[in-house]
Every structure is written in C-alpha cells, then in structure tokens.
C-alpha cells in the first residue's frame, strides 16, 4: 500500500481555502502559473468536467483541475489513458456539461480518434495541448510541432478550431474563448499551448465578471423546438444544429457514421454523404474570417513582415521592436491568435506587397505553408526561422533578418 505525506495537502483542506475558492476567480490582479490560469479560465467559461491522464508538461493543468473541480461543483476524473480521457469528453458534453482535458504530444496523438468522432457528431469540447517536442517521446521542453496535427491529425474531413496563447493572461482568456468557439460552432477546439506558457508565472488580470463574454450552446427547448419536431443534425438558421442534453427528452441518437439530418444512417447515398461532411467542413471554413483572430502592428507600408503565433510571438515582437529601434522602420508584425481555420481572407486584407516574410516557429516550418498560400502573390520571399526544443531567442530572429536584408 502506498503511503503519502498528507501534510503536503494540508493547505487545500484548511477552512480558509475551502471558503475562498467556491466559484470562479474573483476580479483582480493575480500572479499566476500558466496552467492554473487555463483551469481558472475553463471554470469561468463554465467547464465542470475534466478528464485526463498525466503527461509532462501538461500534468499541472490536470492537478489544478483535480483541486478546483469539486470546489465549483464539477467533477474530475483521472482516466486510464488519453483515449478514454478524450472519449469521456464526448459523453460529458452530450450530457450537457462543458468538458475539457489537457495533454501533450504523445497523448494528443491518442486523442485524435475522439476528435474525429467529435467533428462528425458535432460535439463541443476543449483539448489543451501543452506542446512538447516530437516525434516519439521527443523531449519535454517547448514546441509548436503539433500545429498541423491539430488541424489534420484526425482521420477524414471536417474542421476544428485551434488557438495559440502566448501569455498567462491568454491562457485564461483563450481558454474562455476556446469554450465559446466550441459552444458556438459545435466543434472540438484545441488550445495549442506550449511548455513555456504553461509553466510561466505572470500577471493575470481578471476583469469584472460581467465584462467577460461566455457563450453557451443553443438548446432546442430554448428555441421552442419540441422533441417530435427536432432533427439533431439540421442546422438552425444555417449555422449549427441546436444541441439538447441527454436526459432532456429529445432522444438523440449520436452517430459517427455519415447521416441524414434526422440521424438516419442506413439511407445512404453519395449525395447525402457529400451534404453531411461538407456541412461540418463549411460551417467552420466558410466562417474562417469571422472566427479567426489576427493582430497586426506596423503594417502600414511595411516591406518586410515578421509573422508569429503562440509563445514565439514574444520573441518575435521583441526582435521587431529592437530592429525598428535600430533603423529598420519597414518591418511589420503579424500575429496569429487562432491558427485554424486559417484566416486566409483576413491575412490578405491586411497585407500589401512585401519583400520578405519571416516566420519563426518552434518547429521546422509548418504554418508557413498556409501563410505562403495565402500571400502567394504578395511577397517575394518566405523565410522560415525554425528552432527546436526551446523558445527562439530574439537574437536568433534578429540575426536571421539582418542576414537576409543585409545580404541583398
């Protein structure tokens, strides 16, 4: 039998702690750990179910959830693996509760099965991927190598939404945003964090609660659709189908096979197949510019552009500021807050003709592909600045930019 030094958990059991923590984080300034901010964001968004399996560097999110869920009337469970963790989110979500898990590379691979099912069955939930380097066990430091897997890792078609936070504040804000996306678009959402931001302590400002927007799924009973008239896969006003919870009396048959709007799976035809899968693809991709968030700075008349996402944003921005201070005033900066759906139209609308596009990524150059496609006729050169295993130092980015621009 295992013995544990229970005194280590004493602070959690004190009267004071039990009193203080029964709801979401009250408004105010905090100095918080990135992983903790993520859980607090989830709680704020209304998440009341967490299932997970320990993995470095995502375990801290799980530990915080284990502590917080029962305090706010939610439930936490440590599952037997990442497969069951992700699959249990499907059950929790259909039982009417916002649900999440967190994992890292190898575990993320195991969750792809559930993601694929959730895409087909339009089941909202959140997976936080605290990215670590791969392939294989890779290492346990920071990485952005799962950005393509997030979008294309699940088998078959359909689409997901993915965001990349870069600060403790964004671990809080983006987690809420991720749940909002999931609920609004009935889709699994992936928060592509990384080890650096998950293990970072920084200031977090929780604004007055009423200032934070929380979106909940639309239920058919709210729209006045009675069970006998309800078609579980018929989009409401052309967007997504309303989603009742199990136990509400709607007798929904959730399926992963291609289906008719009523859930019928045997009257198969290629037309029905096309209609079913293109709808779940288009509901996201056709709204890419509405969903996706891009942030630009110094774009007016810029000749050279630095693009970044996630934690690398911070290195890249520091590099841009320093280079501009040193005279490179034609350097613009673009930051992708959401990675998927790729905001093709939005990016194009923000960017004029360019000489060079620099794209530092904590991988060997992945997101540069959709970016190049998007700006194919806008820039002469696309230069990837890859780095593995740790955050780029600004000096690395500065050196590369200087090398290219000076070399002309």
């Amino acid at each position: 039998m295992s013995e544990v030094d229970e005194t280590a958990f004493e602070p959690l059991l004190s009267e004071e702690a039990q009193k203080a923590l029964r709801g979401p984080l009250p408004p105010g300034d905090y100095y918080l750990f990135g992983s903790d901010a993520c859980v607090e964001g989830a709680i704020f968004a209304g998440c009341r179910y967490y299932a997970g399996y320990p993995i470095t560097p995502a375990s801290e999110i799980m530990e915080k959830a284990a502590q917080r869920m029962p305090q706010v009337g939610g439930r936490f469970i440590q599952m037997e693996d990442e497969i069951s963790s992700a699959c249990s989110l499907i059950g929790a979500s259909w039982a009417g509760v916002k649900a999440m898990t967190a994992t890292s590379g190898p575990g993320f691979s195991l969750m792809m099965e559930a993601v694929s099912f959730a895409v087909m069955s339009e089941t909202p939930f959140l997976i936080v991927n605290v990215q670590r380097p791969g392939p294989g066990q890779g290492y346990i430091t920071s990485s952005q190598e799962d950005v393509m897997q997030a979008r294309w890792g699940h088998h078959g078609g359909g689409a997901i939404i993915a965001l990349a936070p870069s600060s403790v504040q964004e671990m809080f804000d983006f987690t809420i945003q991720a749940f909002n996306y999931a609920e609004e678009w009935r889709v699994p959402v992936i928060l592509l964090a990384d080890e650096t931001v998950a293990h970072m302590r920084e200031k977090l400002i929780v604004p007055p609660w009423e200032k934070i927007k929380v979106i909940n799924r639309i239920k058919p009973q709210v729209l006045g659709i009675p069970p006998e008239k309800f078609l579980p896969y018929e989009p409401y006003e052309g967007k997504v189908p309303p989603m009742p919870a199990w136990g509400d009396g709607y007798r929904v048959n959730v399926v992963g096979l291609v289906h008719h709007p009523d859930g019928n799976v045997t009257k198969y035809s290629p037309e029905m197949h096309m209609a079913c899968v293109s709808r779940i693809y288009q509901k996201i991709e056709d709204h890419a510019d509405e969903i996706a968030q891009v942030e630009g700075l110094y774009l007016e008349g810029c000749k050279n552009l630095v693009v970044a996402y996630g934690t690398v944003t911070r290195s890249a921005f520091e590099a841009v500021e320093e280079l501009r201070e040193n005279g490179k005033k034609d350097l613009g900066f673009l930051r992708l807050k959401t990675l998927w759906p790729f905001p093709d139209g939005k990016v194009r609308s923000m960017i004029g003709p360019l000489e060079n596009v620099f794209f530092p990524e904590m991988n060997l150059g992945y997101m540069i592909h959709p970016l190049r496609e998007s700006l194919r006729d806008r820039a002469k050169q696309f230069i990837s600045i890859p780095f593995l295993g740790a955050l780029h130092s600004p000096d690395l980015i500065i050196a590369k930019i200087n090398e290219v621009i000076r070399g002309k």
Binding site: T7, Y31, I140, T141, T196, M200, R201, R314, L391
Partner: protein, 178 residues
C-alpha cells in the same frame, strides 16, 4: 528599470523553481513591477538539471526568458558551466563553493561564494538551501524591497516551516552583506 534578468540554476530538488517563484511573486504582487518567471527541467523529478528565470521590468515584458542575465545563481557546477557565458559584464554571480568547485573563469563579474547548504544545515535542514540563496540574491540585486520578499515567502511556504524559511532567508541576506 527597463529589464532586469535573473537566472537561478542547479540540480532538481534544490528548490530552484521556488526561488524563481518567490522572486517573481515579490516583484509582481508586492512591488507592483512586471515579472515573468519561467522554468525548465529535465525528465528527472530529482537530481537532473533545473533552472528558473525571472525577468523584471517596469514596462511590458515580451521575451519571457533571460537574454543576458544581470544576476546568476549557480548551485551546481554544470549550471555554472552552461550559463556563465550569458551573464552580463559587471553582472553578479552567486555560487555555492561546496558544489561549484572549479575556479570561475571570468574576471569581469562580481562573484559571491555563499555556502548555502552549510548555512541551511545551521537552520535545521539542507532543504532551506534555496532560501539562503534567495536571501543572498535579494540583498545583492536590491531591485525588490525586503518587505515584498517576506510577504512572498509567507505565501509560498507551509506555515509550519515559515520561521525556518525566513531565518534561512535572513542568514543568506546577512552573509553577503557582512
């Protein structure tokens, strides 16, 4: 203060991350500065390489890690070997002479040898070593007020050992001052 960078490195289990945590909390919560603390460690729970970094600034902090440290606390020889080159000229180096045995191969920095483990043993347990180092660091940087440190320590350690932690902190503080 534009940007002040602190790096604490050593073996896992020496409490390196806790030091970073307290420095960051003291600056951010009680001295109203911006502070970003990051950490990295190997796969071992104990005994592997471990480091913690804190960047302080009155303005916004973009790059969250150390570029050139203003102060380096090295509690192991490998930590010194790796990070010495990233210490600014004129920067401060704190080492424990018990574990950092080789001569420090730089003359353009200020070196302070603090027998952290030994002092910690005087307090009662080797595990207070990190608080001794923190005390030395607090005294030498001077960018964060002692009151802020005391409050941050209170937040981060179990109430039962608070007295010993504060004592270790004070001893480290005094050691470099005296």
């Amino acid at each position: 203060m534009k940007r002040y960078e602190i790096r604490i490195a050593g073996f896992g289990g020496q409490g390196v991350v806790t030091v970073g945590k307290i420095v960051g909390a003291a600056a951010a919560l009680y001295d109203k500065k911006n502070a970003v603390q990051t950490q990295s460690y190997g796969p071992e729970s104990r005994g592997g390489a471990c480091k913690s970094e804190v960047v302080l600034s009155d303005g916004e902090i973009h790059y969250p890690k150390v570029r050139m440290a203003d102060i380096l606390v090295a509690l192991s020889q490998p930590a010194l070997d790796i990070y010495l080159k990233d210490l600014k000229a004129g920067g401060i180096l704190i080492i424990d002479p018990l574990t950092v045995i080789k001569e420090v191969p730089r003359a353009d920095i200020k070196v302070f040898k603090v027998p952290t483990a030994e002092i910690a043993l005087q307090v009662g347990n080797k595990k207070f070593q990190n608080m001794v180092a923190l005390g030395a660091l607090a005294s030498l940087t001077g960018v964060i007020s002692p009151e802020a440190f005391e409050k941050a320590i209170k937040d981060s350690v179990p109430p039962r050992t608070l007295g010993q932690n504060l004592e270790a902190f004070k001893k480290g503080n005094d050691y470099v001052r005296g």
